[in-house]
Symmetry: C2
Subunit: 192 residues, 2 copies
DNA sequence: ATTAAAATACCGACCGGTCGGTAGGTTCTA
DNA sequence: TAGAACCTACCGACCGGTCGGTATTTTAAT
């Protein structure tokens, strides 16, 4: 019997496998048989564990947001100094996205329109909550006369960080610490 | 099966309509009947004009890259001053993406894994060519000792600009000129 | 310690429906 | 009267999902 101290052990491995497949092939072009096969099950066996394809995606996305709360938001909110807060936000957000294990998070970045109705609304609210959090942290380092630009700055920061999942390949020439340093410097001081 | 013999014959409205639908619903979850209906045709009627769903996507993506070449790359390459070059790159790239008409370009940003084989390779090469171009323009304004960071800076810039398609809604509180100013300032001088 | 019942995990076979795509005929236009 | 434009009707493959049933594990009373 397996028993690991981590709370993630409560997490059925099916979700991790499915997140991996969704990340690789995209939600729409992944069939339930694909996921079943990856989990070494038949489709009927898979459906013993989940309610529907959409619910499976929702559970994965929700878990990705839980990770974000836990690894980025909560620790950053405990920091007092505004500049250090922002630096930690950048470092933690980037590591969260580039960590090879967290497929749930990268799926969030790509699958926007796949959920419908209530589930979609709930996810959008969680995302909005995080964006507002980033905006506040960014506003903390802006001089008073430029506070009005906090929203654009927040989106700029989120963009440069989130876009990484599109091009970053671990093991390439660019390391995660170099990326953290580079983006922190650009966002804080610019390139010129 | 039909033409595509003439490169400029692109302005068949079918491609614009299809780009719009792909942009709205995503490639995979858009059926050919959806596109046919949007174009006021039956599916068979639509297939009189195109060879396959994948070819339709490829034509759209290729046209999006043509637009990028024409509206961003070519004019920017004619500018001598490195700083002005970069400023124009930012302004033109953002306007290209946020222009409501250019659905072909926003489809490029989202549909990465939908093409297969040769078509995918060709698209990836055109994209890589553009990324190299951005990297060179960025390197033009970097002090010598930081030239090695040009690639990270280029990806940061591309990220903050390209991410806009995910959240920007025309008619909202943020205008395109404000966005151009804001992102130019952040990338050139930082926020702190 | 035994064992029977209950719960869980899983499967082969199948369902209604939709997908991308097509054969073959009709209408429009020059 | 030729060809482009477009249609009705249809195809095989595959989709998400379910059915009835079996194997395995857990539980609990003896």
């Amino acid at each position: 019997m397996k028993r690991s101290s981590n709370s993630a052990s409560l997490h059925n491995p099916i979700y991790d496998i499915a997140a991996q497949v969704f990340h690789k092939r995209g939600y729409d072009s992944t069939s339930m048989s694909d996921i079943a096969h990856a989990a070494r099950l038949t489709k009927a066996g898979l459906y013993h564990h989940i309610a529907s394809k959409e619910m499976l995606l929702y559970t994965i996305l929700n878990y990705g947001m839980d990770l974000t709360d836990e690894i980025v938001m909560r620790p950053v909110l405990e920091i007092r100094d505004p500049l250090e807060r922002l630096k930690q936000l950048i470092a933690r957000h980037l590591r969260l996205i580039l960590q090879e294990r967290n497929h749930e998070v990268t799926v969030i970045l790509h699958e926007d329109k796949s959920l419908r109705g209530t589930l979609r609304k709930k996810m959008n609210e969680r995302k909005k909550h995080y964006i507002d959090f980033v905006e506040k942290v960014v506003a903390g380092v802006l001089p008073r006369r430029r506070k009005s630009k906090a929203r654009i700055a927040a989106f700029a920061l989120l963009g440069m960080m989130n876009w990484c999942y599109q091009w970053y390949r671990p093991g390439g020439r660019i390391t995660v610490p170099a990326l953290v340093n580079g983006m922190t410097e650009i966002f804080l001081h610019g390139v010129a």
